[in-house]
Amino acid sequence: MQTLLTLAWRNLWRKKRRTFITLSSVMFATILAIVLMSMISGMQEQMVDSIVRNTTGYLQIQDVLYHDEPSMDHALEYGDEVKDAVAAFEEEISYTVPRIQGFSLAAKDMGTRGVMVNGIDPKKEDRMNNLSSNITSGQMFDSGDEYAVIAEGLASLLEVEVGDSLVLLGQGFQGMTAVGTYKIGGIIRFFMPEKNNTMVYLPLEQAQYYFAAPDRLTNLIIMTEDEDLVPRLAKNLESQLDPEWYAVKTWEELMPDKLAAFEAREAQVAVFAWVLYIVVGFGIFGTIMTMMFERLREFGILLSIGLKRVKLAAICMIETLAISFLGVLAGVTAGFLIVLRLHFNPVRLADELGEIMIDMGIEPILSFSIAPEIFIYQGMVIFFIALIVGLYPVTRVLRMDMVHSA
């Protein structure tokens, strides 16, 4: 075995340029795979994160009927049962965000618009999506304040500004009429037009009073640091809550259309990845085949002086293993450094693509993921491809005609 290792190792360094070319092909294939998959994963993560933070959160506790019929009559009672269930998993839960939401009419002078009234805890919203950073004039309220913050588009449609009053009219809990006049304390801007033209924010207690639903929420958002915990956390919370009254919904259940879009995208990525792997495989195959033809005579010599085919095949395999391993190692290292730089210094997208992302409520940057599994998986796939391709010299050796080769 030591002889085979010695021969393989010395062969690798005998023709440094040949080894370098083969090693480079594996290395660049690995870099390409890592950078592309990191970009695709990064954008996916960015979209999920953006959707989760700006809309549903990872999990929501709701009244059991709210999901199918989202009316104020199905607001949940935010009592001890819910609070105890959340407290039972405080290690896995980073924080909770209470919301009470319902449609209403907003009127100012002769103008009336349909709006979404959101009762929120501003500090918790800031933690979730940094809501108050979007304020363009005035300021975000504190919990004890009694004024409203409305979206910039809506303010424009109603021709109101900070300091004006707004009348809200809607339906409250159990058929009560919701009505109130609120001073506008701040204007907030959203990228998504449907939010920018409809959102009205009130302090949570004010909104509960407006909807005649004290101590009630339409949804309690549960946030966690680790997305992978979500399915288990959902099951755990469900186990603590009476299923006759409460439901725990994941973001995937709350937005099935988005999930379907992600799944379709994942299928596209898988096809793209395989095309990439085939291209990469042929690239490596080209270099290994050239190397093989250069060495046919040398292999013939070794066979004719008595080296068994199996041992010669083992030498080829060791060389392939070594080149593939070193190539993948170099590729993963270089790929990691490139991705790391792009992760912390993301490319900002301008023009149409950037605008599309803004419209989707996503920051217009090209985000790169540094999830370890990308480097491990891509490294392993390229290593595996290189090994498969590396079987070519092995099979050639096993059936080569030594008389005509030597």
């Binding site: 070794l302 085919r309 030594m402 008389v403």
Partner: protein, 231 residues
Amino acid sequence: MKTVIKTNGLSKTYTNTAVPVEALKDISLEFKEGEFTAIVGPSGSGKTTFLNVIGGLDKPTKGNVIIDDVDIASMKESQMFDFRLKHIGFVFQAYNLIPVLTATENVSFIMLLQKRPKEEMNKRAKEMLEQVGLSDKLDVRPNKLSGGQQQRVAVARALASRPDFVLADEPTANLDTESAFNLLDIMARLNKEENITLIFSTHDQRVIDRARRVITLVDGAVDKDEAFDRD
């Protein structure tokens, strides 16, 4: 003298060509221990094919090759590898040393495959390199040696494991006159000292003039088989 190789009705036809080529036709010969034989003939006469067949590198279409009472023509490839390793030494026209090994390692290589003890291998390799006049090149790789020196290493490698016979395919074809004579002197001396049977294919007159037996092949058949007293 003991018969080392015996061929009976040896024929070889290549069929993977547009027209089948009869490279060897019904060759029956015997080679005795310690012989120094030259297989001569024009290009395409079947010299290399004959060496390949008796060396077990190629199989005959008909006939058999008896070495050490065994018909190697009927052996499986894996058996043939072992047999070649133990019984036959090769010297090729293009030296065919392993480029990544030093002179000593090249000479030891066959003994290494034979799993000989390391001390014995090293001692024998040094001894053989001394015999071919390369005691100062023990740790030198082939690319630092001249053609003549490389061929001397190849001879040392072929003889080091003390095979029953050595097959040399045009060993002087790539050498200048001085190197060729030098190599032939060494081979003739080793043939006597080690009593190793040497069979050359050649059309180099310098080799033919040293051979004690000259077999002439024409169109794959034995045309002449002559013995000479060179002492």
